[in-house]
């Protein structure tokens, strides 16, 4: 699949933002952070989530109808995501006002906002996980890794002591995801024979594609570069998203948020590689109609 920067940025930034919101509500509920911190981090989380959502509209070819995407929540994960993100942001805003006016005694809204933000990340991941046409996404590992990445990323900033364990789990899940991807790719039920309706596997190749030049289908769904650099990018991704953050955490003491912020940025850079691969390596069923091998 084509790794559009607007979509990668959207999934990473809004994931991180909603992760921050999730942590704030939780820590606030157990009185583990001050009101000032609640306010500051709610604004940061909300801001990043909004930036992510705005960047996701960049790839809409007909933005004028974006408002209609709130209507089909009964069937569409993309619509559910739109609704869930607005609800979470509203809850964060209400919580912010309550805390600002010194009523931190009822942190219930905060924890509801926190739950809703996790739901939002879940709906984002289901947009991809629901697609049978892209078998390597069509697994529960997809929502799992999206939610985990959001929570762990935000923990680096807010609770580095938890983040250390989180990063270890993320490393395992990330490798599981790649393993799953490689396996599904190898044992795909779909191949050029099923694509053309043959019941037994036959040796078939395309000797002329249906159009002389690129088209929307090829640009969007038949992306080849991802597989070529896969190994190297996988290493780079875990280096930045996991090993460098862990090393810094073990060497430096986190007594200010500045260190946390710097490490979060390094982590997100690594996550960018990981998300890029998530798209670029995923094989869409339509690619079989262009199979020349």
């Amino acid at each position: 699949m084509h790794p559009a920067p607007s979509i990668i940025l959207f999934t990473i930034l809004s994931g991180f933002g909603f992760g921050v919101i999730a942590w704030v509500g939780f820590l606030q509920y157990f009185s583990l952070i001050s009101s000032l911190e609640v306010i500051a981090f709610s604004i940061l989380g909300g801001f990043l989530a909004v930036i992510g959502l705005i960047s996701s509209t960049f790839h809409l070819a007909n933005k004028i109808n974006a408002i209609k995407s709130f209507s089909q929540w009964r069937s569409s994960w993309l619509s559910r995501e739109a609704v869930a993100s607005i609800v979470s942001l509203l809850l964060v805003f209400i919580n912010l006002i309550i805390v600002y006016f010194g009523k931190n005694t009822v942190p219930l809204i905060g924890i509801i906002a926190s739950l809703f933000s996790i739901v939002t990340v879940f709906t984002t991941s289901m947009i991809y996980a629901q697609l049978r046409s892209v078998p390597s996404w069509n697994t529960l590992l997809t929502p799992f890794i999206f939610i985990l990445a959001a929570l762990v990323g935000a923990a680096i900033l807010l609770r580095p002591d938890y983040a250390l364990y989180g990063l270890a789990v993320l490393l395992v899940i990330q490798f599981l995801f790649w393993l799953y991807r490689d396996q599904t790719e190898k044992n795909m039920k779909t191949n050029i024979s099923t694509a053309l309706g043959f019941t037994e596997e036959s040796s078939i190749r395309s000797f002329d594609k249906a159009h002389t030049n690129q088209n929307y289908l090829l640009n969007e769904m038949v992306y080849k570069i991802g597989r070529k650099h896969s190994r190297r990018l996988r290493y780079l991704s875990v280096l930045f998203s996991i090993f460098i953050p862990v090393s810094i955490m073990l060497l430096v003491r986190f007594d200010t948020y500045v260190v946390g912020a710097i490490v979060s940025v390094i982590h997100l850079l690594g996550m960018y590689f990981s998300r890029w691969l998530f798209f670029a390596e995923a094989r869409h069923a339509v690619s079989f109609y262009y199979d020349r091998s």
Binding site: N65, Q72, S79, Q130, R132, L196, F198, Y216, E220, V286
Partner: protein, 246 residues
């Protein structure tokens, strides 16, 4: 609403015969022509007469070759592909705006361009690559089964079929109701074992394909005929033998 309706009355679709398609692209051209004129918005082309043209099509013809295991020769065949109007259409349920829908009365899958926001998710959800985002108008395009022909009572009866069906010079595409066991398409599909594309995707396509039959072993038969004794008698038989001796 993007929930899928039960289509119990009619299931309109195409029956495509890969055995007789000659890959002439007449259906591609007539589809583009019909859907770029009249009421519908243009199916846009960018750089149409320059380097690297890119355009929107609702129907494509791919070319494949299949190995004949008996003589190791390759047999070419042509494969036209447009929307299969799936019963369990994943492209419809993913649509966030409600622009994509399946008509309850006959199962045709359509896009209401007034509502589409051009997110492209439906094109991702379709395993067959049957949807293309129009790069100029910014909305999703797909085969409409030519609703503006088949429903159009201003056209004479014989023209109320899809443009691609009408234009195919070999009759490789037929249009009809697959829900009616007595329709022509249902009968032929049954008799010649029409197949689904990518049944593992569980989309339950309405369109059916008739696979290319194994070609007769032309070379072998030809050689055998050449080398067999001629079935002649009398004077010709004497000539045949005399020539063999030379």
């Amino acid at each position: 609403m993007t929930n899928l309706p039960k289509c119990e009355n009619k299931k309109l679709g195409l029956l495509i015969d890969l055995d007789i398609c000659v890959g002439c692209h007449a259906c591609v051209v007539s589809c583009k022509e019909w859907n770029s004129s009249g009421d519908t918005k243009q199916l846009s082309d960018i750089n149409a007469h320059q380097k690297e043209p890119i355009g929107t099509f609702l129907n494509h013809v791919h070319s494949f070759e299949k190995e004949n295991k008996e003589n190791n020769e390759s047999e070419p065949f042509y494969f036209p592909k447009s929307c299969l109007h799936c019963e369990d259409a994943p492209c419809v349920t993913v649509c966030p705006t409600g622009a994509s829908y399946k008509r309850p009365e006959d199962g045709i899958v359509l896009v209401n361009e007034e509502d589409c926001m051009g997110c492209g998710l439906c094109a991702w959800a379709c395993p067959y690559g049957a949807r293309e985002l129009d790069l100029l108008s910014g909305v999703m395009k797909k085969c409409t089964l030519c609703v503006d022909r088949i429903d159009n009572h201003d056209l004479p009866e014989e023209d109320r079929v899809p443009a691609c069906v009408k234009s195919c010079p070999t009759g490789a595409r037929s249009f009809g109701d697959f829900n009616d066991p007595n329709s022509k398409v249902s009968k032929i599909a049954k008799e010649r074992e029409g197949v689904d594309l990518m049944p593992e995707m569980k989309t339950k396509p309405v369109n059916k394909y008739l696979l290319p039959r194994i070609k007769s072993n032309f070379d072998k038969e030809f050689n055998e005929e050449e080398n067999s004794d001629l079935n002649v008698s009398g004077f010709l038989s004497w000539v045949d033998k005399a020539l063999d001796k030379l």
